[in-house]
């Protein structure tokens, strides 16, 4: 009895194996691994990224896959935890045998995963914002980035200031990773643009009143203020700036790029200048803008499917997935060929502007990744010229 069962089991086993391998030869899906922070304190990044990745995979498969082969997404949640991200990256590479990895969501997680993919020689497209993720490029052979760095947003601001005759500025930054990175880049780039930082102070992320700090700025020669923070403090400083009746312009970091911030500032945000990604102002982009088809399509599809506003962070996932699709269509399922394709990608139009990578630059974006906007009548308005 036992023997019969065993033979039966064996025959079923071999039958499955033979059909599976026969199917694999011509229709095995391309496996792409994703590690994003779906839960935890970075879930505001990972949640729209998860949604977008699933949506893009569905789009690709509905269009008939890549060279007739479907794409399979293996997605794990890092829980916003860097050491978990490392474990999951290893699992994707060794157990799931994926062709490439997209994610992780935060800069910290991305940095932690870099040694893993470099050693295993698997291409990774990270969603973190820190410039260090793609630099120095010699140590980032297998790592690519789709997010424009802080430096580009700051360059755009400095460039705009110079053209408007501003050369003395005050900077206020939150004492968080985000604020520290912004402060560092602002200080590094200022000499290049002949901009003099006449006031530089940091404040805690829980600050509820910044009038004292702004009062000190009033006592300096600063012609503009740059604030670099996310969360409540960027609203507090905006309200205090208006309440103190300050006349010098207030520039915010790209973290201010959400309609909810304008709403919470209750009119105080009028005149605030912000560099934002195009996806934030998708409706304002002219139809002849080269980005218009991508950005508008993403916004429409996302909002139809998930019934919530599209975010900048999901846009990174869109760009990474479509770059991988192009790579696979061109070079097929070969990790080092994919890496090479990613490194030389040029003219790729994504939510984060047009990518032109090179062996010296694994991001491939320039200042054009951001658009300067001003808050006007409770909405964004593109600053022309």
């Amino acid at each position: 009895m036992k023997k019969t069962a065993f033979i039966l089991f064996l025959s079923v086993f071999f039958f499955v194996l033979s059909t599976a391998s026969g199917w694999a030869a011509d229709n095995e899906p391309y496996k792409i691994g994703a590690i994003v922070a779906v839960t935890g304190n970075a879930s505001f990044l990972g949640d729209p990224q998860r949604n977008t990745l699933e949506m893009v995979v569905d789009i690709i498969n509905e269009e008939g896959g890549i060279n007739g082969r479907p794409v399979e997404l293996v997605l794990y949640d890092t829980e916003s935890n860097a050491s978990r991200a490392v474990t999951l990256a290893r699992r994707l590479i060794t157990r799931d045998n994926v062709l490439a990895v997209v994610g992780p969501s935060t800069s910290g997680e991305s940095m932690a995963v870099i040694p893993v993919v470099n050693r295993a020689e698997v291409p990774m497209i990270a969603f973190g914002a820190s410039t260090r993720i793609a630099e120095p490029v010699e140590e980032r052979k297998w790592v690519f980035k789709v997010v424009p760095g802080d430096d580009l947003a700051i360059r755009l601001k400095y460039d705009y200031m110079k053209r408007n005759g501003i050369d003395k500025i005050a900077i206020a930054t939150a004492s968080t990773d985000y604020g520290i990175s912004g402060r560092q880049h602002m200080r590094e780039l200022a000499p290049e643009y002949d901009i003099d930082i006449v006031f530089d102070d940091t404040y805690g992320p829980g600050e509820t009143d910044l009038t004292a700090l702004l009062t000190r700025i009033r006592g300096t020669e600063a012609q503009a203020i740059i604030n670099w923070s996310i969360g409540r403090t960027q609203i507090v400083i905006t309200r205090n700036w208006k309440q103190l009746g300050m006349t010098i312009p207030l520039y915010q970091s790209y973290g201010f790029g959400s309609a909810r911030n304008i709403e919470m500032a209750e009119g105080a945000a009028e005149g605030v200048i912000v560099p934002v990604s195009r996806i934030v102002i998708a409706d304002l982009i002219a139809d002849d803008d080269p980005h218009a088809p991508v950005v508008k399509r993403y916004k429409r599809l996302y909002e139809e499917r998930f019934n919530e506003g599209v975010s900048v962070f999901g846009g990174h996932a869109w760009d990474a997935m479509f770059q991988l699709r192009d790579a696979l269509a061109e070079v097929g399922p070969n990790r080092s060929a994919i890496r090479e394709y990613m490194e030389n990608i040029s003219g790729f139009v994504g939510n984060n502007s047009i990518f032109n990578r090179s062996p010296q630059d694994h991001v491939g974006l320039d200042m054009d990744a951001y658009v300067m906007v001003k808050v006007k009548d409770g909405d964004w308005a593109i600053i022309d010229e």
């Binding site: 004292a212 009062t215 009033r218 006592g219």
Partner: protein
């Protein structure tokens, strides 16, 4: 030129400090009221402030109540919540030792914070000033109109409490319980009732603070702990149990923080005030204005 800028700055810091100090003072008073009657430190005091602010936003913005109606509704709801906390959390304790009561108030704080997160979410909420208008310009400083409301209502609360504890029967009865619960019981004062009254008063006081400060600082669900620490610090500085001490210490702490932000850096603001509190606890545990009578605390 330099002098006018400097004097303008000093007035600015002074008003910023007085405004936030008023909230510390109200929170410290809330600590004192409950401490005087029950002998415990109510760690949920900061959450009363948060709830006051968030309820005010809910009534004034989402329900569209006129401001005075919204304000008194907030006070009413919080008086009810104070009584609720007493009846369902404090009263059922069989052996009310100080330690268990304190643990219960910590639990209440966590519950209030959690419920607030469920009702209002994690995002901050804004509220317009009670009277809209540009800031008032005084000798080189811009003072927000809401600051006058904060200061005015705080002074009114202090006057009300002075009157309440010195002139009304229930106020005197609460003081009697604070002085000697046994003797108070002998003359027919119901101690449990007085404790309940203390919780109602304490939570209403916190809510008033939250309602008036929200137009300036915004409010979100997890702000309670920091407010409680600063308020508790003020209560300690002023000598636990002393009302006038709490008010003076609250304003002092606010002004100190504001000047620290103005002349040093906002990054060190909290550190400076916490070091001061620790320093006082080490060197003069009865508080700056504390008398020998409060030493038992």
């Amino acid at each position: 030129m330099f002098d006018t800028i400097l004097s303008g700055q000093i007035i600015q810091y002074l008003f910023t400090g007085l405004t936030i100090g008023a909230i510390y003072a109200l929170t410290a008073l809330g600590f004192n009221i409950i401490h005087n009657v029950t002998g415990i430190i109510n760690f949920a005091q900061g959450d009363f402030v948060v709830w006051g602010g968030l309820l005010m936003v809910m009534f004034a913005r989402f329900f569209g109540f006129p401001l005075p109606v919204a304000f008194f509704s907030v006070v009413g709801v919080m008086v009810f919540i104070g009584a609720f906390i007493y009846y369902f959390n404090i009263r059922p304790i069989k052996k009310p030792s100080i330690l268990t009561m304190i643990m219960v108030t910590i639990a209440v704080s966590i519950i209030l914070q959690g419920v607030a997160m469920f009702i209002w979410g994690k995002e901050p909420y804004a509220l317009p000033s009670f009277i809209e208008g540009p800031p008032v310009y005084v000798y080189g400083a811009y003072i927000m109109r809401q600051s006058f409301w904060v200061l005015g209502i705080s002074v009114a609360m202090v006057l009300f409490l002075t009157f309440f504890f010195n002139r009304t029967l229930i106020g005197k009865a609460m003081r009697a319980c604070a002085d000697d619960p046994g003797a108070a019981g002998l003359v027919g004062i119901s101690t449990p009732l007085m404790i309940c009254a203390a919780f109602m008063l304490g939570s209403a006081l916190g809510a008033v603070g939250g309602a008036v400060i929200t137009p300036i600082t915004l409010m979100e669900y997890d702000r309670g702990a920091m407010i409680a620490i600063k308020g508790f610090g003020s209560a300690i500085l002023g000598g636990l149990g002393s009302f006038s001490g709490a008010v003076i210490a609250g304003f002092m702490l606010g002004i100190l923080e504001s000047f620290a932000t103005g002349f040093v850096s906002s990054a060190y603001k909290d550190a400076i005030s916490l070091v001061l509190i620790l320093g006082v606890l080490f060197t003069k545990p009865e508080g700056l204005f504390g008398s020998g009578a409060n030493k038992k605390a």
